[in-house]
Amino acid sequence: MARHKNLFIAMAFVVFLAGLPVMLGNNAYLMLVLCLSGIFVIASSGLDLLFGYSGQISIGHAAFYAVGAYTSAILTTKLGVSVWFGILMGGVLATVFAALIAIPISKLVHMFLALVTIGIGELTHQAIINLPELTGGFTGVKLIPMPRIGSYVFDGISYYYIILAFVILSLIVKKHIVDSRIGRAFIAIRESTDAANAVGINVTYYKTVAFASSAMFTGIAGALYAHYVGFISPESFTLDQSVLFLTAVLCGGMGTFVGPIIGSVVIIFINETFQALGSYQMLVYGIFIVVAVIYVPAGLVGAVRMFRGNLFKVVKRFADKP
């Protein structure tokens, strides 16, 4: 019963999202926020798989975002492949990259894992800058095309629907992973590596699977981003970007489906709305992070759950009074 209720709510929400562009009257700014939010939801859901479910911290996910973005951008601009193939390859390469680095680093935990992921993020950033023949260095990659089918080009509002489709697809895939033997292994590893080992889970293997599948999401998001903005440069793939992903996950609610969604929308909204304020915007963002961490450590989802729980307790106590 509960399962069907959630499905119904989700479907209603999807219909709402599909009709949103019309309702918003094609407001360019709001469409921008929606599209970027969608891309962010995919990217941060990937990070949530790794951090929220398998308990492995990454403050370097911008590396996978970059691999996805640059792979698709380079393949489509330099080799003229179709954008669909580019996005696919972006995801594939990000996945392979993550699997390779996960093998040696998965033995690290907590702060040391955080440090090495920061290192990987920085290294990827430096690699992009130092390979100008491939990546265009500081000047980046321009004129990244939009996807097309035949002669129909998916730009403007139709790209929003592409992003929406990918968001729905990635959330379904996330659900399939989480509610499976794989997902249980992830959570077991997060709760107790020793006990996970003792029940027959090959911890190193599943940690690597977690990294790889997490990167798949973020890599595809990166590719979608590249085609959306049409121009990418190393600036978008720094530690700041990784921090944005982590903030979305942590402040939205780790290990949930709705958490990364809420977190992403809030982050994008803050970033885009206060863009014009320059330094003041960033100051607000910095303070927001501190406040969010202090007041909603379990994320907005956790805060709502606690609120509902407390509300229930209050109502019950009131109802139990003679």
């Binding site: 499976s180 033997r181 959570i187 709760e191 107790s192 020793d194 006990a195 003792a198 029940v199 889970i201």
Partner: protein
């Protein structure tokens, strides 16, 4: 012999926690591992389960050497364990803990899980049913969807044992399963362990409650300062002067 240890030694720096322990356990026995605090019982468990690689010595399980293997490999071969301080997956539900216990006996991989192939779906369905059957054995089936950290202490202990037998092990290592239980729970526990044995599972239990040990086990190994100082049937062990000397002042 289901499992035999040959001169197994475990050192931590200068401390020898397990000192040339040699023992064999017959299939389908319920054996006990006893000894004063700090005798090395849990360490021995950890060595058998693969958490530590022995400093020297060999462990043969079903004629296969398992010393030095990873814990998950040893679990795959058929050894399961529980912990002194319950080590459940606390944020998982009761049912999920059992389901994850069956992990090594399933075959679904990442591709099957993402695409929800018919094989994977069938496997998950059967898994749920089998897990519920296990819960019914201990009367926890009504709490299947309860988060495991909300269970009472006794229920959590039972759940952990259930998780251990979920993978159909041949050997079950129980580390102080009766700790914190009242008399009735201990009686139920003895019955439960005998039932587990009737499934063909061999059991090695570490316990401090002597009455429970004497009533449950058929063969005892006594450890002191890492050395095996005595082994035999419970009646003989009770009157063994070495054992009494080691335990002076312990509970009866």
């Amino acid at each position: 012999m289901l499992i035999s240890l040959e001169s197994v030694t475990m050192k931590f720096g200068g401390l020898t926690a397990v000192d040339q322990v040699t023992l064999q356990i017959k299939e389908n026995d319920i054996c006990g591992l006893i000894g004063p605090n700090g005798a090395g019982k849990t360490t021995l468990f950890n060595v058998i389960a693969g958490h530590y690689k022995p400093f020297c010595g060999a462990i043969l399980f079903q004629n296969r050497r398992i010393d030095g293997l990873h814990p998950y490999q040893i679990n795959n071969y058929g050894i399961a364990r529980t912990y002194q301080n319950i080590n459940l997956f606390r944020s998982m539900t009761v049912l999920e803990n059992i389901m994850v216990g069956k992990h090594p006996r399933l075959s679904a991989g990442i591709v099957g899980s993402i695409f929800r192939t018919p094989t994977q779906r069938r496997e998950e369905k059967e898994l749920r049913e089998k897990a519920m059957d296990i819960l019914k054995m201990v009367g926890l089936e009504n709490k299947a969807e309860e988060t495991s950290k909300n269970l009472s202490y006794g229920e959590q202990r039972r759940l952990e044992i259930c998780r251990g037998i979920a993978s159909d092990p041949k050997l079950l290592l129980l580390d102080e399963p009766a700790a914190g239980m009242n008399t009735k729970e201990k009686v139920d526990l003895i019955e439960f362990i005998r039932k587990i044995r009737s499934f063909g599972i061999t059991i090695l239990v570490v316990e401090h409650d002597m009455k429970l040990v004497m009533g449950l086990t058929e063969y005892l190994f006594v450890l002191n300062f890492g050395k095996l100082i005595a082994q035999g049937e419970p009646g003989d062990i009770q009157s063994n002067p070495e054992v009494i000397k080691a335990y002076l002042g312990d509970d009866i």
